[in-house]
Amino acid sequence: MLTTLLQNVINALQWGSFYSMIALGYCLVYGVLRLINFAHGDIFMVAAYIGFVFVGFLLKFMPGSGMYGWLVLAITLPVTMILTSMLGVFIERVAYRPLREKGAHRLYVVITALMVGLVLENGNLAIFGASSRKFPEIIDKVVFTFAGVRITNLKVLVIVTAIVIFIFLQTVVNRSKIGMAMRAISYDKFGIPLMGIPVNRVVVFTFIVGSSLAAIAGVLFGMSYPVLDPYMGMIIGWKAFIAAVVGGIGDIKGAFLGGFMLGFIEILIVSFFSSNLKDLIAFTILLIILVIKPTGFFGVAKSTKI
């Protein structure tokens, strides 16, 4: 009984980690631009494919096991982060910035973001076709057993990574210059150029960080659940987005904890009901939370954003 419970906790932590890493991307961009980047889930998907292609490329030169496997991962992660960031910055540049400069209404921006997502999905479909791809196995699986609870090295990696990312982001946002600019812009965008700071520099930085997080999540997700398809970013992206909103979008801690909250809710439902009901019940719970507390769990109406 206790073993099952702990096993579930570990699964919840793993899924929560994925949701959190993606939710943080929504949160950062929202905090800085008040823009819900609906393409973010698809950026995550593209990142998984970039990782897939790049790992395939590396495996031509080195074996995907033992120390080499970790080396493959160590090279793939930064490369995927860079390429995904370039995609994120490109999207910002061609899709969002022109609208911002014209002062377009939010509605148009949201629709643009949704369309960017569709372009990414269908672009991917055009390149890789409809059949799903299998992410190669690069890390030798090690299973640790504590008191009957099983946890793989990969799960540990996922959970630790999510926590490290969170701590890193908190540090950047609270202690660095650019982080202070991000906090400031979330409160008053008008004031930023008056301080001699180019608004677009802050925006680009934000997209780089958000996309890099999606890249890390994408590669780790590909390694954990190796079947990739062009629509994989859609559901997980929506879920992460909702988790971010429930946590209090615009607040890093909120997005992070929101992701884990969703992970736990889902796993709890699966262990007590049928997994068919998982999304229905999970979303209903989130909906109720939002109705009761529209600013989200940790969001304080307008003040502590980012």
Binding site: E101, K102, G103, K177, M180, A181, R183, A184, S186, Y187, D188, F190, G191, I192, P193, L194, M195, G196, I197, P198, V199, S303, T304, K305, I306
Partner: protein, 240 residues
């Protein structure tokens, strides 16, 4: 130092300034007075080169600063390169940052090697209240303190030309006096000031020269004392 030449600007299709010209010389306090909707804020936003949609578009005319046109300068460079700071209408301080952080963020665009500490010292000696509240979230400041902070931020930017948009707005009379005295101190230490006011009496009293703006046009100019004696100005802006 600053020369605005026949500047016409519009918001969308509506022309808000119909060709205004004025100059500000180094070391001066020049005030632009006018009633609601006259185009005062519009003038400052145009000078700051802030982007649309917040700010108006220049249709014709020119803004010459130290011999160079500002029309192609991006807004952050107006501050970081040209050293012109704006204390905007509505203050726009960063309420989620502390007082000290608000001052710190104003130093980010400064060149390396600038003495930042001297900046803090100057601001905190000019506005001791800010020093008392330096660790406080700035949205918890009173209106007057927020205004001081907005001015302090402009000083931290390393500007030698400051434009202030109605610094007296919403302040109690004693605070208005304090604010103008602080401006005087700043001016005496070499700061050139372009001051926008609805409170014409106090503005003309402190300024070397003034311009009167009315529905997008300059309608009168002179020294502070001259404008104060001008019958039209008296009637329209000084309450008879």
């Amino acid at each position: 130092m600053l020369e605005v030449k026949d500047l016409k600007v519009r918001y969308g299709n509506i022309e808000a300034l119909h060709g205004i010209s004025f100059t500000v010389n180094k070391g001066e306090i020049v005030t632009l007075i006018g009633s609601n909707g006259a185009g005062k804020t519009t003038t400052l936003l145009s000078l700051s080169r802030l982007p649309k949609p917040e700010a108006p578009t220049v249709v014709s005319g020119d803004i010459i600063y130290n011999g160079e046109s500002l029309l192609k300068t991006p807004p952050h460079e107006i501050v970081s390169k040209k050293k012109i700071a704006l204390v905007p209408e509505g203050r726009h301080i960063f309420g989620n940052l502390t007082v000290n952080e608000n001052l710190e963020i104003a130093t980010y665009a400064l060149e390396k090697g600038v003495d930042v500490k001297a900046g803090y010292d100057q601001v905190y000696s000019l506005f001791p209240r800010l020093y008392e509240r330096r660790k406080q979230r700035s949205e918890s400041l009173s209106g007057g303190e927020q205004q001081m902070l907005a001015v302090g931020r402009a000083l931290m930017c390393g500007a030698d030309f400051i434009m202030l948009d109605e610094p007296s707005m919403g302040l109690a009379p004693v605070l208005v006096q304090d604010m103008f005295k602080a401006m005087k101190v700043m001016n005496e230490s070499g700061m050139t000031i372009l001051l926008i006011e609805q409170n014409a009496r106090i503005a003309l009293q402190f300024a070397h020269r003034g311009y009167v703006i009315n529905t997008g046009e300059i309608v009168a100019t002179g020294t502070g004392a001259e404008l104060m004696e001008d019958p039209e100005v008296k009637k329209a802006y000084l309450g008879g």
